[in-house]
Each structure stands twice: as C-alpha cells, then as structure tokens.
C-alpha cells in the first residue's frame, strides 16, 4: 500500500475487483433485494471487524465488549436524527421546532469522536490489566452499556428502553435520499443498492486507514506491545498512550458503523447489542486471521453472511427431515459447527498473514500446554506481522 507499483498484473486484478464490486449489487438485486441487504449488513460487520482488529489484532488487547461502541454510534444517530428527543423533552422541542434532524455528515464525525472518547474512557481503567482480565472487564463494560440502554426510559425517557428508537432519518447524500430507490434513465437502483455503495466506500476508506496504520510507527509500536509489553516499554514506547490510542481508534470505527446501522435500519433497540454480538465480532477477526486485513475482511463477510445464506439452505433441509428440525435451530447448529471445524483445521485463521507460519512458540514440538510462566495470560501471537514485505523475514522471537 505504501508504494504504488505499476505491476500490470496487479493493476488488472484491481480493475477486475473494482468492476466486480460495482456490478455485484446489481446482479444480486435481480435475485431480490434481500440479498443486497445481506451484503449491506455484512459490510457493516466488515467495518466492525476492522475496528476490533486494531484493538485485538494489532495491539493484542482482547476486547469482549466491542459492540458497546457500535451501540454508542447507533444510539447517537438514533437520538440526533429521530423525533424521540423532541417528543420526550419539551426543552429540546422548543429549541428545534422542526424536530431534531441532524445531517448525516455531521453525525458521522460526531459518532466517530464520541465513540473514540468512550473507547478511551473504557480503556483507561483497564490499562494495568493483562490478557483475560482485560477480556472480562471489557465484557462487563459492554453489558453495563447494554443494561443502561435497556433501562434508561425511567425516570427520564432517554433511550426508550427495550422498545428502542424508531423513525430514524435515512441518509441523504448530495440530496439523494438513500431510503428511496433512484431511477437513472429508466434504470431503477434499489435503496439497498445505494446503501451498498455508501457502505462500500466507507469500508474501503477503513481498509485504507488500517493498511496505512499497520505500516506506520504507531502500528509497529502496537505490535511491539502485542509481542512483549515489558520489552516495548523498555524500548521507550509510551505503552499507556499507545493502548489508549488503540482503544480509541478501534472504537471510532465501531461508532461510525453503528451510526450507519441506525440510519440503514431506521430503528435501534438494545437487542442488537448483546454480548453475543461482541463475541461474534471477535470470532470474525480470529476466524479470518488475526491482524491480517484480507483475513479479517474474509472472516467478517463469512460469519455475517453465513447465517443468512444458511437461512435459504436450511429450508429445504428442513423439508427433507419432515420439518422435524427447525430451520433456525439448524442454522445455529451449522454456525457452531463451522466455527469449531474452521478453527480445528486452520487454528491461525482462514487467511493468516504469511509470516504467521513461523511460530515463535518455544515448545512447538512438544505436546503439552504452555504454562502460565512461559506464557502469561494474554493474547498470543506467533510473530510480528510485517505486512507488505513479501520477502522471507526473520521471525520475531520473544526475548
């Protein structure tokens, strides 16, 4: 990414990929808008997974409450672009007689900023914690935020409780309302397809940021912390600020994704932000290939689209078994099975970064588990990934 090489083969691939991405929704649209919708949601998950990848993949901080930032973004957009606040608070209604309809372009940076601040606030008390202790604390934060969303309808109705916030504004881009289908020269582009392009653009930007980040000084510093925090500190890195930055940056992607989700669904409720959602995002990152961008994208697309695709497959299977096995249950069964099988077959993820093959694990030959002494609780990664470098690289061996 750093140097644009004029390799004709590569250029051809990029062009082919771009055409495929542009054509994809129109092809899917022919089979029904629900398929495009699936892709839209999958793109949002890609963004979430990329954000979490910064925290888990780069900085090595296992975060099990990531969905909280998604929720922050979604509720922020929900509150600022729906009639909810003006209906419940006369003071706000007096200030905005026409209702609170903040522009999408204002809310996105705001969501980014607020989520980043929340991310740093949540990160601050956890700085001393290591590995799995961090995991449980972040999980706790996620749950706390969800419980508040669920209950903040009394005594002041802020979140409308379990009923959620509805009537959220759709996105208007340059005067085009993305919630309505657009007709250009007799050809109709469905609303979901318009959203597809918006999401795709943002996902591409996110991928660009992540790729640059990986190669930057900050990215390197994160990976140093991931590999050995003590050594990183000894080398003069400010681990505290770097970890906070990782939390903040990761969270900001979550916040933007959440705002997009709210405008896409035009409805948010606490149900969308359960712990299972956080766990699924972690699963996406790990299944795909921790710390490796193409892997993370693959993992997110797979896990986000799999349940929906299975929905279409499970029906016939259910018919074959005379309706004894419910389609929803079968779907869940297959997802669980897929997670186990993929991990057993490819423990480093479906598409790990190439360097990951050279494990720095001291007892790779042994069959015994590693003790706490050798391996303090934490997210373990075999080697420092050096993205972009294609040559054989000396694997980073822990001192």
């Amino acid at each position: 990414m750093t140097t644009v090489k004029t390799d004709p083969k590569k250029t051809a691939w990029v062009i082919a990929g771009a055409i495929a991405l542009i054509v994809l929704p129109f092809v899917l649209q022919m089979f029904g808008n629900s398929w495009v919708r699936i892709i839209d949601l999958a793109l949002l998950y890609v963004m979430l997974a990329l954000g979490l990848n910064i925290v888990v993949g780069y900085a090595g901080l296992l975060d099990l409450g990531y969905v909280a930032f998604f929720a922050v973004g979604a509720y922020l957009f929900g509150l600022l672009a729906s009639p909810h606040l003006t209906q419940n608070f006369p003071a706000i209604a007096a200030m905005f007689p026409n209702g609170l309809h903040l522009s999408f372009w204002l809310v996105i940076p705001l969501a980014l900023l607020v989520a980043a601040i929340v991310g740093m606030l949540l990160g601050a008390p956890t700085l001393k914690l290591r590995g799995d202790y961090l995991a449980i604390v972040t999980l706790g934060f996620g749950e706390i935020i969800r419980i508040f969303m669920n209950n903040l309808d009394q005594p002041y109705n802020i979140t409308n409780g379990p009923k959620g916030i509805s009537d959220i504004d759709s996105v208007h881009v340059f005067g085009v309302d993305l919630a309505r289908s657009l007709t250009i020269g007799g050809f109709e582009i469905a609303s979901v397809t318009l959203y597809y392009f918006l999401f795709l653009a943002l996902v591409l930007i996110t991928i660009g940021i992540c790729a640059r980040l990986q190669d930057s000084r900050i990215g390197r510093a994160w990976m140093a912390i991931r590999e050995d925090e003590i050594a990183a500190k000894a080398m003069g890195l400010n681990t505290r600020n770097l970890k906070l930055l990782a939390f903040g940056m990761g969270a900001s992607f979550g916040g933007v994704s959440g705002a997009l989700f709210a405008s896409f669904q035009q409805f948010v409720s606490p149900e969308s932000f359960s712990l299972m959602e956080s766990i699924m995002i972690v699963a996406m990152v790990v299944l795909g290939g921790l710390g490796h961008l193409p892997g993370v994208v693959t993992g997110a697309l797979l896990l986000a689209a799999l349940p929906e695709v299975l929905r279409h497959v499970a029906g016939p299977l259910q018919a074959m078994t005379d309706g004894r096995i419910d389609a929803a249950i079968l779907r869940q069964l297959l997802i669980g099975l897929a997670m186990i099988v993929i991990m057993l077959m490819r423990p480093r993820g479906l598409w790990p970064s190439p360097e990951h093959g050279q494990s720095a694990q001291p007892d790779a030959a042994g069959t015994m588990p590693v003790s706490a002494q050798d391996n303090p609780p934490g997210v373990d990664f075999p080697a420092d990934a050096a993205p972009g470098s294609t040559g054989v690289r000396q694997s980073a061996i822990n001192p």
Binding site: V56, L62, P125, T126, K128, L129, R130, D132, Y133, I136, V137, L139, G140, F141, E143, I144, I147, N150, N151, Q154, I230, I279, V282, A283, V286, I325, D326, I329, L330, Q332, L333, I335, G336, L337, A338, M339, I340, M343, L344, P347, R348, Q361, D363, A364, G366, T367, M368, P369, V370, S371, A372, Q373, N375, P376, P377, G378, V379, D380, P382, N398
Partner: protein, 309 residues
C-alpha cells in the same frame, strides 16, 4: 433489618451456586489458560437432562420420595455432562493446545452455540417448569425465611467444596493437577500425564456445574436452553473477581458476588431515590468487578502473574 437478613440469605444461596460454577471455570483456566465459554452450556445440558429424568421417574414411580428422585436425576445428569465435557475437551480443545491462544476460545464459543442448538432440538426452545421435589414450607430465622431448597443448596455446596478441597489438596490426583497447573512439561517429566489430568479437570468441572445447574433449576423452578449463559458469565466474573486460577478465590468471589447482587438489588431503589431500580441488578456484578480489578489487577486472591523475565 429483616430485609437485610433475607437478602443475605438469598445472596449466600445465589453466591454458592456461582461459586460451584466458578470452580469449573477457574480449574480449567488454571491448567490450560482457556476461558471455557461452553461451561454454562454444560450446566444447561445437565439441568435439562435432570428435568427429563425427573419427569420420567415421576411418571413411572409415582410414589417415590422427592429427595430420592432428585439425587438419582442429579447423578444421571452429572454422568451425561461429565461424558459430554470429556468429549468436548478431547475434540474441540485438545487439538488446539499448541495453537494461538484465541483459537480454543473460538471453538469454545462454537461449542456453546452448538450445544444450545442441540438442546433446542432435543428439548424444544421453551421454558419448562421444574417440579418442586422438596417441601416448600419455609423456616423462619429471625425475621427472614429460608426454604428447604435453599438449605439444600447451602448444604450441597458446602459438601461439594469440602470434597473438592480434599481431592485437590490430599490426593494423588490433586497433586497431579496442581503440578500440571504449575508447569505441565515438568509435571510430565515427573510421571504425571497432563492429558489425563486435564480430562479429569473437565470432568470434575462438569459435575460441579451440573450440581449448580440442578440447584438453579430447583431454586427458580424453570429450565430452558439459554439458562446457562448468564450464570456462566456471572461465575466467570466471580472467578476473575477472586483471582482466576485460585480455587479459594473462586468460592469467595462467587459468594461475594451473590451477596453484592442480592443486597444491591434490595437497596438500590432506596439509595438512588428511585432513579435506578432492581432492573439494574445485573450491573452490580460488572461494576464491582471493574472497581476491584482497577485496584487489584489480578483479583482478590490472585497471585501476581509473573511478567516475562
């Protein structure tokens, strides 16, 4: 005063169930450093199995005494869950011993999703009421009441803990477990078979979880396919709270968590002038956890994990 006493009783009962589940978490963590997300689901399978056995027995032997049915159902459920957990460990965790740490975590999540689906297939996704097998007439202590089920929970927990402590501290098996937790490779050199020890740990964990699961079912009177999730999460919190990997810590963490939750939900309305209600019960576990871990990063009784030298 009566309310406080009542909440303390309820808290201890709740906490002792958390403690039993937390022991399974903490033992597994102590030995292979895995957050076993499927632990709550093993509890759920055990509780549902016991429900089925109870139903079958009440049908076939209408005159059988409640306690006999309960003991038999628990034993059968323990057996099923022990076999299940043994198989899970062998299939989903063992092949990943030397893989990156997050790989078994993901298979554990997969197992938990899978077990819920299987449970829904076998038992249908509905809430089922668990019959009350013990007398329901509560005893009075001061101004508070305690049911025979609650007494049983406290008693069974105490006995289970005593047996576990004896097992870990005074038997060959226990010594092998402690040695493996300390350093599996060196333990292996000393004639311990780490794989067997790990299997045994999973079996013991499953038995403790099922005992807790049956008691949960008795105490609340319902069983369903997601009943393991929240207790599992709370128990994990309790284990971390006490210092994960530390058996005594898990017990203390569980009991404290139960007490905090119970007393907290009893008084939160008064304390905040009605702004926060008892619907915030689940928040206590996490708020306290965060405060404790901020002050003591390795839990109440946790040893300081040695940083890499």
């Amino acid at each position: 005063m009566d309310i406080l006493l009542q909440q303390i009783i309820n808290g201890l009962v709740l906490g002792s169930m958390y403690a039993l589940i937390a022991l399974g978490y903490t033992m597994v963590y102590g030995i292979i450093q895995l957050i076993n997300f499927a632990h709550g689901e093993v509890l759920m399978v055990g509780a549902l199995t016991s429900w089925s056995v109870v139903g079958l027995m009440q049908e076939s032997m209408p005159g059988a005494p409640g306690w006999a049915i309960l003991i038999l159902a628990t034993l059968i459920a323990c057996l099923v869950a022990a076999v299940l957990n043994f198989v899970i460990e062998k299939v989903a965790y063992r092949p990943l011993r030397n893989s990156p740490r997050l790989a078994p975590l993901i298979t554990a999540i997969g197992v938990s999703i899978l077990l819920q689906a299987i449970a829904m297939m076998i038992w249908r996704p509905s809430y089922k009421s668990f019959p009350s097998l013990l007398p329901t007439e509560p005893y009075q202590i001061g101004g508070a009441f305690i049911t025979p089920t609650q007494i049983m929970v406290l008693g069974v927990t105490a006995v289970s803990l005593a047996i576990l402590m004896w097992l870990v501290n005074f038997t060959r098996m226990g010594r092998a477990m402690r040695a493996t937790a300390e350093n599996p490779r060196v333990a292996g050199l000393m004639g311990v078979r780490p794989d067997m020890v790990i299997s045994a740990t999973f079996i013991i964990g499953a038995v403790l979880a099922v005992i807790a699961g049956v008691m949960l079912a008795m105490n609340y009177g319902t069983v369903y396919h997601t009943m393991g999730f929240l207790p599992g999460l709370k128990a994990f919190t309790a284990a971390v709270f006490g210092g994960i990997g530390n058996l005594g810590g898990a017990v203390i963490g569980g009991l404290l968590l139960g007490l905090i939750e119970s007393i907290g939900s009893g008084y939160i309305g008064d304390l905040t002038g009605g702004v926060l209600g008892s619907n915030y019960t689940d928040i206590f576990a996490f708020v306290v956890l965060i405060i404790i871990l901020t002050l003591r990063p390795s839990g109440l009784l946790g040893e300081r994990v040695a940083d890499r030298a």
